[in-house]
């Protein structure tokens, strides 16, 4: 048994750093797209728009029942075929691994965020809607200024948990031969044989980021807390 040698991690840092940046940007993009689409999906179901909400419900059920890794494969192989078909010449149009990852993660996370927001919408007190009606607020203003802000506040811990899971799931991009933080570490570990050091170092990075995210949300919650709210 040779003893642990962390200098290897320091040497590898630039490569790990580029992996980490990829993980973070994929997380950020998937979060934005996912929250935007997810909110839209949740609202469609909340308004019970007949055909549309059926579609959305099926979409959410499908995405939530399939492993992310399978969805990644599908997108990677199917979308080029579909695009090729649509473009008319029948030849597959490659989307590229990076685009595939960004699109898939955004669409996949949208399903999860939409469930969180849908539940949050149902938790808003009926009196809030009635107060908005009584003030003649339009539907748009009701949701924009009264309902959704309350939903986001109440749901923020669950949204955060989902986002941390999302961050960890970015490691699945290895199936598209993309290099995220974990991917970078395992590649180097296999090259230099320092598996324990590399994986320990990466675990610490994940830990730091996870804790920082929790702290960040806790401070946000303090800042925007519905002061003294009981209900």
């Amino acid at each position: 048994m040779n003893s642990l040698d962390f200098s290897i991690v320091v040497q590898a840092w630039p490569y790990l750093w580029s992996g980490l940046l990829f993980s973070l940007s994929l997380t950020a993009a998937a979060f934005l797209v996912g929250m935007l689409l997810g909110t839209l999906f949740a609202l469609v179901q909340h308004f019970e728009l007949r055909i549309l909400s059926q579609l959305v419900r099926s979409y959410v059920a499908l995405m939530r029942s399939i492993p992310l890794i399978l969805v990644l494969f599908w997108f990677f192989f199917l979308v080029p075929l579909v695009l090729g078909h649509l473009s008319g010449n029948g030849r597959p149009v490659p989307v590229g691994a990076t685009y595939t990852a960004f699109i898939t993660f955004g669409l996949f996370e949208a399903a999860y965020y939409s469930e969180i927001i849908r539940v949050g919408l149902r938790a808003v007190n009926k009196g809030q809607f009635e107060a908005c009606q009584a003030l003649a607020l339009s539907r748009f203003d009701t949701y924009r200024h009264v309902v959704l802000p309350q939903v986001f506040r109440v749901a923020s811990p669950i949204i955060l948990s989902q986002t941390i899971i999302l961050f960890q799931d970015t490691s699945l991009v290895y199936v598209l031969s993309l290099t995220d933080l974990l991917g970078a570490a395992s590649k180097l570990a296999q090259l230099n044989g320092r598996l324990v050091e590399m994986y320990l170092a990466v675990a610490v990075v994940y830990l730091i980021i996870g804790c920082a995210a929790s702290q960040f949300v806790a401070s946000l919650r303090k800042k925007y807390a519905i002061a003294g709210a009981r209900r």
Binding site: L135, A136, L137, Q150, R153, Y224, I226, A227, A229
Partner: protein, 255 residues
Amino acid sequence: MQQERTVSPADPFPMVVVEHLVKRFGSFNALSDVNLKVAKGEKIVLCGPSGSGKSTLIRCINHIEKHDSGRIVVDGTELTDRICDVNNVRSEVGMVFQSFNLFPHLSVLENCMLAPMKVRGLAESEAHQRSMALLRKVRIHDQANKYPAQLSGGQQQRVAIARALCMQPKIMLFDEPTSALDPEMVKEVLETIVELAQDGMTMVCVTHEMGFAREVADRVVFMDRGSIVEEGDPSTFFRAPNTERAKAFLNQIIH
């Protein structure tokens, strides 16, 4: 009909006309054939046992409940299913709820400013000015930057009144405004409503506060099982109600 306020139900331009109003919840008749006219400047107290339809009636007047048949005309606009009619009516009708329904994530001031800015299109400075003036009127301007949950129930309800007034409504509806309050806070809210009444606001108030009814009501309307059973001026109604049902009800609330 010289200068004095007309409170006669025969007013040719009433603020609210309700004719043959029917509202069902499933098979339950919440309102069956209700007729009511509210004149400009008139103050009506609606009372009756729980489940008698009084809340449902005022909730129909600003279309929070959709009526099944009959007509409701508010200040000349008939309430139909058309969104513009509904919004026209709602923006002229202020409503105060039993459970306040303030927006918990907005400060007292922001609660008041939201609708004037979004519905009336007021500039922020104007909305601010108007809100502060009305918060001062209900004597809560020193709490303008607090959040609803930091206030007592009575204070919250006064904010709710100010918020409704910020839309400069032509009529105010009160749905049991003091029922959710601790006893010691009832008075401050009732005083605020009395002051509003003295300013000449048209109002329909569902309440069991009989002292309040005596003081401000031009007319007491007694409902039971979805219909108006009896109406009259408060002194007559409380002293000598005509119907057995009203007698029984009054006996119960005066213990």
